[in-house]
């Protein structure tokens, strides 16, 4: 029997549905493997299996070990490994007893809606972890948190509007997008002389959409004209039409909204189309990623490239952060992304909250304690303490913001401007005259 177009289209729909959740790799790295959603593996340093006299406090982490955001999960896990080793070298006290910590890591396969939610249920209902670290999927975990409240510490996601609006149990260990995006527009105007900009953005991707809104707002505040906001659907592989739209108005600079794995192919096609002007983004691209994704021409493609985000481990002025960057690079032979320092600090933050709460298991007490803790000793990110020295202000802990520039002579990035943001505008900017000379 021959099948007609309708049957074929039905089969096509089956493919579309299946391919959405088809990235199910079992990955390993560091001292222990991370497993696919649902089941998970403990990451623990040698002494943590025994623990102190109090035992081992086990917490969870749902990270994107595979899939489109797999540029994020493995480094996060590597850094958590390092943080755990440092924390467990001395242990931490809770109620007068010494504890060590272990982290159960699950892979959300870059698909928080299915694999992430499965892992969440496993951790919360079966493993009974008191705290979970995570990257993607705040909006998806929020309804689950309403039913089973526990503190979730985000070590990645700074969308706009803030993920903190989703649920009072979510904490964020980085400055939200509004703390760094205005720096891009300000720098473009004051240092690059840009009067006009275009934006190329991924639709259906919350981080990208938030960045785009913020660039538009900042541009209005700074008096920079947005010539075009060109969009492409997330998952697209050819951006030619969006690029045409963006360059048509001959803008002085182009801002790319989204994360590293998404914006680098756009940047590649943008340069292949002949655009040679300044490109800005807030993705935290590091030289290793640039070379891997852009290929042998990465140095040319990255020329005139500016990245506005929180401070990076390698470009930070803080000696502790810098030492962490050196240690990470020496151990894993890769350039540490910004999220690695937040991931490193995660065990210290949880330990501090458990100590203050007097419990390694009481989710409610640990949530309350997180709101009160001061910046824990041993952390490396260079946190800006809030009023009274607390680490989290309105559940957000943050580090300074900066802009890095690509140094083509040295094929790396350097900090060119460090700043803070108040009421949507840049304050206290400090500039480096010849940033590439010192890297």
């Amino acid at each position: 029997m021959r099948r007609g177009p309708i049957g074929f289209v039905a089969a096509l729909a089956l493919f579309a549905g299946a391919s959405c959740g088809s990235d199910n790799k079992t990955s390993s790295g560091g001292s222990a493997g991370a497993t696919s959603g649902g089941s998970a593996t403990k990451v623990a340093s040698a002494d943590s299996t025994a623990g102190g006299e109090g035992g081992v406090a086990t917490v969870g982490a749902i990270l994107s070990q595979t899939g489109i955001y797999s540029t994020l999960g493995p480094p996060e896990k590597n850094a958590i490994d390092m943080g755990l080793e440092a924390l467990n070298a001395t242990g931490f006290e809770v109620g007068g007893k010494k504890y060590t910590m272990a982290v159960t890591v699950a892979d959300d396969k870059s698909d928080a809606a299915t694999s992430g939610v499965t892992a969440f249920r496993q951790m919360v209902e079966s493993d009974k972890v008191p705290v979970i670290a995570f990257g993607l999927g705040s909006s998806l975990y929020a309804p689950l948190l309403k039913r089973t409240p526990l503190p979730m510490i985000n070590i990645l996601d700074s969308t706009y509007p803030s993920i903190l609006d989703y649920d009072p149990n979510i904490f964020l260990t980085r400055g939200d997008s509004p703390t760094y995006v205005p720096g891009c527009v300000n720098y473009a105007k004051t240092k690059l002389g840009a009067k006009t900009m275009s934006i190329i953005t991924a639709t259906g991707e919350p981080y990208a959409e938030g960045l785009t809104q913020l660039v538009q707002k900042s541009a209005a505040k700074e008096g920079v004209e947005i010539k075009a906001t060109a969009e492409y659907p997330l998952g697209a592989t050819d951006y030619g039409n969006a690029i045409n739209q963006a360059v048509a108005g001959n803008p002085d600079a182009i801002y790319l909204s989204s994360v590293t794995a998404v914006i680098l192919p756009v940047l590649k096609q943008l340069r292949q189309s002949g655009y040679t002007g300044p490109v800005m983004h807030s993705s935290g691209v590091n030289p290793n990623q640039a070379e891997a994704i852009l290929g042998s021409d990465f140095n040319t493609i990255m020329k005139d490239n500016y990245d506005c985000a929180g401070t990076l481990p390698t470009t930070s002025a803080d000696a502790r952060t810098k030492k962490f960057a050196d240690d990470y690079q020496a151990r894993y032979k890769e350039y540490p992304q910004d999220l690695t320092m937040w991931a490193y600090d995660f065990p210290f933050i949880v330990a501090e909250a458990m100590s203050k709460a007097g419990s390694t298991t009481d989710r409610e007490k640990i949530t309350a304690a997180l709101k009160e803790i001061t910046v824990p000793a041993g952390t490396v990110s260079g946190w800006i303490a809030g009023d009274g020295g607390v680490m989290f202000t309105d559940r957000d802990a943050r580090t300074p913001s900066e802009i890095t520039v690509w140094c083509d002579a040295k094929k790396t990035i350097a900090s060119v401007m460090v700043f803070d943001v108040k009421d949507g505008g840049v304050i206290d900017p400090t500039f480096k005259d010849d940033p590439c000379a010192t890297v």
């Binding site: 089969a11 493919f15 391919s19 489109i68 969009e231 998952g235 030619g240 891997a292 290929g295 990465f298």
Partner: protein
């Protein structure tokens, strides 16, 4: 407008070269070969692997194309052959194969994007107000050459005539002494080689990942239906129509709904011509 049309032709060529591989297999065996996406990804990785080991680009590209052919034949030999007379099982087998292939790539190479370097990736020509990048020109040329070769093989050689005969009526072809099984394998071989061509043509504009062809494959399936199931010329025409429709829609309506325009075109054409643009009726693979 010129740039929009060039983008449309580029997209159309990409869709066409992927869709022809799909429609060839469907025409002969009636299998919706979702695994084609995995073949494309693994062909790209094979090219990358050869390139990383120091092979010149042309050799690496040939390795990638050959890998596509071999893998495609393996999917026929190891999986599709066993469900040939169970057409309802074919989509499930195809999806299973896709998962196997993509997860093999994930296991072997990881999920992070990798660049496929080419000697022409920096080339850029400007004609009037239209810019033509080397990678896009290469994709268009590779598509034209490979599809012209395929058309010649199908029309002028005994092998091609045998494939067409099986596609038209496999029982009659068998009675005439044509080895039907061999034609199935041949169809998968050609589809695999085309998957390899699309991988080396398309990867340099994007990045090599296990999922690099999923989005393109969806569009290619639209093209297959649009052009008429089993029609090679329909797939070529459908690819160009879809590419240009998507490009015009993105330029003049909204680029964020680029893929949606293709599906709208599909619905409109199916309503007007339920068999597709060039419905082959009793005669497939032509």
């Amino acid at each position: 407008m010129g740039q929009v049309l060039v983008n449309g032709i580029f997209l159309g060529c990409l869709f066409a070269v992927v869709a022809v591989g799909l429609t060839l297999v469907f025409g002969v065996m009636e299998v919706p070969n979702f695994a084609h996406s995995g073949i494309i990804a693994l062909s790209a990785y094979a090219t990358l692997e050869a390139s990383d080991r120091g092979a010149p680009f042309v050799i690496a590209a040939l390795v990638g194309v050959a890998a596509g052919g071999v893998l495609s034949v393996l999917t026929e030999v190891l999986a599709y052959r066993w469900v040939r007379n169970k057409p309802t099982a074919a989509p499930a087998v195809a999806l299973g194969l896709l998962l196997v292939l993509q997860n093999s790539a994930l296991r072997l190479y990881g999920g992070e994007g990798k660049a496929l370097n080419t000697p022409y990736q920096s080339a850029l020509w400007r004609v009037g107000g239209v810019s033509l990048s080397g990678v896009k020109v290469a994709l268009i040329l590779l598509t034209v050459v490979s599809l012209a070769t395929l058309a010649t093989v199908l029309a002028k050689t005994s092998l091609g005539r045998a494939v067409r005969a099986v596609a038209q009526d496999r029982e009659a072809a068998a009675m005439l002494g044509i080895p039907v099984q061999r034609q199935y394998t041949l169809a998968f071989l050609i589809a695999g080689l085309l998957a390899g061509v699309s991988a080396i043509a398309y990867a340099p504009t994007f990045q090599v990942t296990p999922y690099m062809a999923d989005e393109v494959l969806l569009s290619a399936f639209v093209v297959v239906v649009l052009g008429g199931l089993g029609s090679v010329w329909g797939a070529i025409a459908g690819g160009l129509v879809l590419g240009i429709v998507e490009s015009l829609g993105a330029a003049y309506i909204s680029s964020s709904y680029q893929s949606a325009f293709g599906f709208i075109a599909l619905v409109v054409i199916l309503v007007a011509r339920p068999g597709g643009l060039l419905a082959p009726n009793a005669r497939r693979i032509a």
